[in-house]
């Protein structure tokens, strides 16, 4: 042991130790943090990889992370591109497609929650939700702007009506907001369309 300490206290030993800490500790973690940021913010892969790295043995981390860093752009960019395309599409979709069917209350089944629409996911923001009319569409013929009131989502806001959807100048439906915690402890904020 004393020999090891002696070895580590030489200039060459210290630099070797430093390099080892960087190669097996800091650099893989830093690279993985950068790689997961290539995925959209709410993509499960982010959490998935960060959690799994905790189980990877230190000496394997450079290889494990290296493989992921090479793969991440090829997986993440198409996902981002698809998300952007969906967002554009969603802004042109009829209200029924933008917001899922109304879930009666917060005890809604997981399946029902999964089917509903995460407003933030669709990229329409948490402050202003705009449903754009589609010329010729039978579903929604008037432009409707939904204004989301209040600050960040709060569980106590559950069931609050976000805004009305107008059709031909009259109220046609409304969107209700429900919030709950997802498995990562983040607030999930969803809107339900109620004709």
């Amino acid at each position: 042991m004393s020999e090891l300490i002696e070895l580590a206290s030489t200039p060459a030993g210290i630099s070797t130790l430093l390099i080892a800490v960087l190669v097996f500790g800091t650099i893989p973690e830093l690279l993985l943090q950068l790689a997961v940021h290539l995925y959209p913010p709410d993509h499960p892969r982010r959490q998935d990889l960060l959690a799994d790295m905790e189980d990877v043995e230190l000496w394997k981390r450079p290889f494990w992370v290296g493989s992921l860093v090479v793969m991440a752009p090829f997986e993440a960019f198409p996902i981002r591109r698809r998300a952007r395309r969906d967002r554009t599409r969603s802004l042109e979709a009829p209200a029924e497609d933008l917001f899922g069917p109304r879930v009666p209350n917060d005890t809604a089944s997981d399946a029902a929650k999964a089917e509903s629409t995460t407003v933030a996911d669709r990229g329409v923001g948490t402050d202003i939700v705009t449903v754009v009319d589609v010329p010729g569409a039978v579903h929604l013929t008037a432009r409707a702007t939904l204004t989301v009131g209040g600050p960040a989502p709060d569980a106590s806001d559950n069931g609050v009506t976000w805004g009305d959807i107008q059709r031909d100048g009259t109220k046609w439906g409304e969107v209700e907001k429900h919030t709950w915690e997802d498995p990562q402890g983040r607030d999930v904020d969803r809107g339900y369309f109620e004709p």
Binding site: R45, Q47, D52, M71
Partner: protein, 110 residues
Amino acid sequence: MRKTQRLIEVAMVLLDNPNTRHFGYELSKVSGVRSGILYPMLGRLLEVGWLTDAWEAERTRKGRPPRRYYELTDLGRLELGAIAQGARTAAPSARPEAPTTTRGLAWGMA
């Protein structure tokens, strides 16, 4: 779903314990499939409905971020079972009896 050797290796691991849920690194370690190949593959298996995923419960986390667990669906059991069976029939020696982990570890990529 394209039938690749990697898919077969992952299928074998999943089918060894079809009712058990696995997390990504565990699958990578046992099957010997590199992380850069495994995770996109898991994504595709989820998309086609052969796997389902769920997050680790709060009480089992022990201070680390929650794991994402993957589990075979009934459809997955059928489809991957057929793929694995096909692979076994086509080349009985294709899958070594010893765990493929050895190879992955040898390359330091598990």
